[in-house]
């Protein structure tokens, strides 16, 4: 079926004229219409503008002016500003916000000719690991509707897994691309901090936030990342380094690659069947010529506490822009300005966002700044140095993406600390600004789990190459959820 094809296959078929971009767009729009009702992966579907973009894509294809993404349907996480389209970020606060401009990543994908089908559901302001924090209701896992899809890019992951769209954008601050990719059985990459411009991406934690791609294969993720990446004069933290040709990197052989296996990740907190799938995947890597080396990351156990100081601190500052004055929700009938701010924010934000703002205010407040925020930034330095030391001996670091397969809706939503611990394996990479991906490596009790690969700064090409080699040898990434 059309929707089982990868982006690479669809691009080839579009060029060969097997179908038009308009037909392809209509096919996926019809699937969204038919299947998204009980998944809730989309907040907004942009059918009319999608058809208009598809018409333009067909003209480019006919004129021989097409890129590999021309005519390819995609979806954007609703954290990316899209001109003329509501950008809610999963929050009641922004329910009425129609962005006056496009995010750089959105603009670049549009220029390449990709067709935006809509905006995907997410945990409110990207804070969450289950998608239950969305003001638009939870996304359901395509493999079992009673389970969470992961978060915060849960809508993007569920939409790709359900074949509602072949690829989608996401953002990752502590694991928000890799964790839902693992729980939904797809491939997701978070590149190096600064590789993709953050301009037009609603800010959560500015020293950690990074945009990336979710797709079914590493090859497709590479095609999306190729276009999204690059310098941007509008984001002073976007890296000026030129973007390598990821397609060329995929074609390179894996020989002489050494992968470090983090012993600390295979502890009691990891589901034993999940651990076995990861070990099996590493054996496949070994057969492909990779050398495995056991490594230790001495301070990695401190990632969760360090993250839950740094991220809420930055969030409490970033989120002060939501004041009800220039955009977004405003509480009615407040007597004075302070009351208006307090009630606007009390009404507009959900429980988890409030917790993070308050945690941030706490760790930054007088008398606590040194003990928490400064301390966390020092620990972050130690974690980063551990990675740097490891990368002197290995080309990539491997381990599980999550401690277990998807968990039931409602199970952790009232227990923030348990929810936070779900990101225990993914939080290290963003703290050190490192690129990391997750790809399907097997099933546990009928549910997908992921293998995580972490690379050195700007090592995306090598990670994608390793993932592509693995996917040529295995079929885990081709498995469709039941009934899809």
């Amino acid at each position: 079926m059309l929707h089982d094809a990868t982006i690479a296959q669809l691009a080839e078929a579009l060029r060969a004229g097997k179908f038009s971009a308009v037909e392809l767009t209509d096919h996926f729009l019809a699937r969204i219409e038919r299947l998204d009702g009980n998944l809730n992966a989309f907040i907004t579907v942009t059918a009319d503008s999608a058809r208009a973009q598809a018409v333009r894509a067909d003209a480019r294809l006919a004129a021989g002016d097409a890129t590999p993404l021309t005519g390819i349907p995609i979806a954007h996480k609703d954290i990316f500003c899209t001109r003329g389209v509501r950008t809610s970020c999963g929050s009641r606060m922004l329910d009425n916000f129609v962005s006056p401009y496009d995010a750089t990543a959105v603009e670049k994908l549009e220029k390449a000719g990709a067709v935006m089908l809509g905006k995907t559901n997410m945990d409110e302001l990207a804070m969450g690991s289950s998608n239950e924090n969305s003001s638009y209701g939870p996304v359901r896992n395509t493999w079992n509707r009673d389970l969470v899809p992961g978060g915060s890019s849960g809508g993007s992951a569920a939409a790709v897994a359900a074949r509602l769209v072949p690829g989608a954008t996401g953002t990752d601050t502590g694991g928000s691309i890799r964790q839902p990719a693992a729980l939904c059985g797809i491939t997701g990459i978070k590149p190096t901090y600064g590789r993709v411009s953050r301009w037009g991406m609603v800010a959560f934690a500015s020293s950690l936030d990074q945009a990336g791609a979710l797709a079914r294969t590493a090859e497709d993720a590479a095609l999306l990342l190729q276009v999204m990446s690059g310098p941007d004069p509008r984001d002073s933290t976007a890296l000026p380094d030129p973007v390598p040709d990821y397609a060329a990197a995929l074609a390179k052989p894996l020989e002489r690659m050494t992968i470090g296996v983090v012993d600390d990740f295979f502890d009691d907190g990891l589901d034993q069947d999940n651990a076995q799938r990861v070990r099996d995947a590493l054996s496949v890597m070994e057969r492909l010529g990779v050398t495995l080396k056991s490594i230790r990351l001495q301070n990695i156990g401190l990632s969760v506490p360090a993250y839950y100081v740094v991220a809420p601190a930055e969030a409490s500052s970033n989120l002060s822009r939501f004041d009800g004055v220039r955009f977004g929700h405003r509480a009615e009938g407040a007597g004075d300005l302070t009351e208006m701010y307090m009630r606007t924010r009390g009404e507009g934000f959900g429980a988890e966002v409030k917790r993070r703002i308050l945690t941030g205010a706490y760790v930054l407040s007088a008398g606590y700044f040194d003990a928490y925020y400064l301390k966390a930034q020092k620990v972050r330095q130690l974690i980063s140095e551990d990675f740097a030391r490891a990368f002197r001996d290995v080309d990539a670091i491997a381990g599980p993406t999550t401690p277990s397969p998807a968990f039931p809706l409602g199970q952790k939503v009232d227990d923030p600390v348990q929810m936070y611990l779900n990101d225990i394996y993914t939080i290290g990479a963003p703290l050190a600004g490192l690129p990391a991906l997750s790809m399907p490596c097997g099933l546990v009790r009928g549910l997908p789990v992921g293998l995580q690969l972490i690379g050195p700064h700007l090592g995306e090409g090598r990670l994608l190459c390793a993932a592509h080699a693995f996917q040529r040898e295995t079929e885990w990434h081709t498995l469709a959820p039941p009934g899809i």
């Binding site: 976007a238 839950y308 917790r355």
Partner: protein
């Protein structure tokens, strides 16, 4: 570490964030759990460690200091709840 209701009240004022009175206790309990989680940092020896300033140890990439944007305030103000004569309206600040 346990946060009192007074602590929470002052954080709410600092954050300009209203929490319904019936929810204060529950929020204080959960914040206390989070603070306990992050208190693990206190045991780490960080003597002589520089706090991280940038994950790649890079400086910010600055652009030339010249005007590149045109005036779009009418378009931007379409997202505001109250605007009059091109100004954002807020509740009375000065009596």
């Amino acid at each position: 570490m346990s946060l009192s209701l007074e602590d929470l009240q002052s954080l709410c004022i600092l954050s300009r964030l209203e929490i319904a009175s019936g929810e204060m206790e529950g929020v204080a309990d959960k914040l206390s759990e989070i603070v306990t989680l992050v208190d693990a940092l206190q045991a780490v020896d960080t003597a002589g460690v520089e706090p991280m300033a940038h994950p790649l140890d890079r400086a910010q990439h600055l652009r030339e200091d010249r005007v590149t944007e045109s005036d779009n305030h009418l378009r931007y103000q379409r997202n505001a709840q109250r605007v009059e004569q091109d100004l954002y309206l807020v509740p009375r600040v000065i009596e």
